[in-house]
Amino acid sequence: MTESAIRLLELTKLFDGAGEPAVTALTLDIPRGSIVALIGPSGCGKTTTLRMINRLIEPTSGRIEIDGEDASLRPVAELRRGIGYVIQEVGLFPHQTVHQNIGTVPRMLRWERARVDERVAELAGLVGLEPEQLGRYPDELSGGQQQRVGVARALAADPPVLLMDEPFGAVDPIVRARLQDELLALQERLRKTIVLVTHDIDEAVKVADRVAVLNVGGILEQYAPPDELLHAPASAFVEEFLGDDREIRRLALKRVGDLPFEQGPVLDIGRAPAEARALLDDARSEWIGLTSGGSFVGWAHRDHVEEAATLAALPRELPAAQVRASSTLREAMEVIMNSRTSVAVIDDGGRFGGIVTLEQIRSGLAGRDA
């Protein structure tokens, strides 16, 4: 594991008047350049933990080290300016334009105007905002656009650390999925240390490199990469929290391209029918796939192959299920089951890439490191 960007050491928070601590002796290493998701039921102290990192809440005891330095010893304003902060409600300043919103921290850091403008334009491009939207007020944007502005604002001064508190909780599932993809793409380029609070296990599994599951009172139940978490829950609590379909969730972690390549009973239509018959016998299959010039053109049934003069003359059925190499196993499984067959054709931009069967998916899940 790479070095830690943030270390929480025996962190405890007891709010005034509360009987039980909100966070109890939490110790967590957050590796540099990774995304760590904090997840758990409400009352598990995940947001409190996040807010202790940028000292919106001061811990009762314990320590937070950022780059090996005690966070409590740094001036709070300076500390926060070096940490991007994104929240569910976004919290854009309604009285400032998108441009002004994004430029808030650089202005506080007294950057020159031209440099602020340049940075704002760069960030707008990065998060996918149109230049003409920069002059608008937040009220004039959609929820998804507002959230993009929020992310851009948090990234404005290029902070090494980004804290995100249910950043996509307020947008609809389609936009949420797109924003998650964008975050991953962004992380691909920026390699920030990101701490993400979420209550959505799918989001945590999809986005995070490591997931910390917290129990009520901020007690750490398990801290592991998503696949390990899903495959081997450390406690009954985690198992219950992940739900019955946790194995299915694991399907979301692997892609079709990760499976061993399988050509399957597939032939070019220029080949002889006899070859096809031999292949069908070998594979004990009722159907044979036909390709032409590297593209999949359809399935033909064994009965027709028996009488056919050429493969090209065979009556063909178009494939009911198609996936890409980049599709997750979960997507592939859904596609196959919806097609009422047991096989999907891998098609990447017209190129035939092999086939994937339910059997393959099942065996792919069996081993942790398949």
């Binding site: 709070v76 300016r81 409600e89 919290g91 854009l92 300043f93």
Partner: protein, 223 residues
């Protein structure tokens, strides 16, 4: 049945308007001065009280209740009570008038600051803004629409109330009204009352536009 008591006494005798323009103008200026003084003082006091109310949540009800109680003291009585201390001076007029703005302005300022969404405050703090900077660049501008509405209401009612201050010789246009009442002379009464209404409307419009210019982002919300 009543004999013609007086010389022709129309609702407005326009020659009087022309002849006495100096007097009218002076009254108008004095009216404006008193209104601005009362508002300025009222705003300072309200800002202070509202700041206290916002800082000590538990004190807020007593502060608004106090302002509300002050509002119910009849202005005539208040002017009368102050005369032995401050005489027939501007202070005698301005202090009660400023006091009457408190209820409206304190409420408006408190509402304004309470309207600032918690997430906006949190985002500001999370970005490392000092509380002073947050107050000036985030909370104050966001509270402005409420404050401006409060100032508009306070202005309009203060302009009306200033006329009452004529009984202590500081009335501006109220002077004309009182003069007309004293002689059952409609012209000064009509002119005094009409100009007072016009002044109120003009100031209201002015503040509305100043407010709109100061809060361009609220354009859509204002609708």
């Amino acid at each position: 049945m009543i004999p013609a008591l007086q010389a022709s006494n129309p609702i407005v005798r326009w020659s009087w308007f022309v002849d006495e323009w100096d007097q009218i103008q002076a009254a108008l200026v004095q009216h404006l001065e008193l209104t601005l003084l009362a508002l300025g003082l009222g705003l300072l006091l309200s800002a202070t009280l509202a700041a206290v109310a916002l800082r000590y949540e538990r004190g807020a009800p007593s502060i608004t209740a106090g302002a509300a109680a002050f509002y119910t003291i009849p202005s005539v009585a208040l002017f009368g009570l102050l005369v032995p201390y401050t005489g027939l001076s501007r202070a005698t007029a301005v202090l009660p008038l400023a006091g009457y703005t408190l209820l409206i302005l304190v409420t408006a300022i408190i509402d304004g600051f309470r309207s600032v969404p918690a997430e906006v405050r949190e985002a500001a703090s999370g970005m490392g803004m000092s509380s002073r900077r947050r107050l000036l660049t985030v909370e104050l501008p966001l509270a402005l629409p409420y404050v401006i509405t409060g100032i508009r209401i306070a202005t309009v009612s203060t302009v009306g109330l200033v006329t009452v201050a004529a009984i202590i010789g500081q009335g501006g246009l109220g002077r004309l009204i009182l003069d007309g009442l004293r002689r059952t002379f409609w012209t000064p009464m009509t002119i005094g009352a009409s100009l007072s209404i016009l002044l109120a409307l003009a100031l209201d419009l002015l503040i509305y536009h100043a407010g709109a210019a100061a809060t361009p982002w609220a354009r859509r919300r204002r609708a």
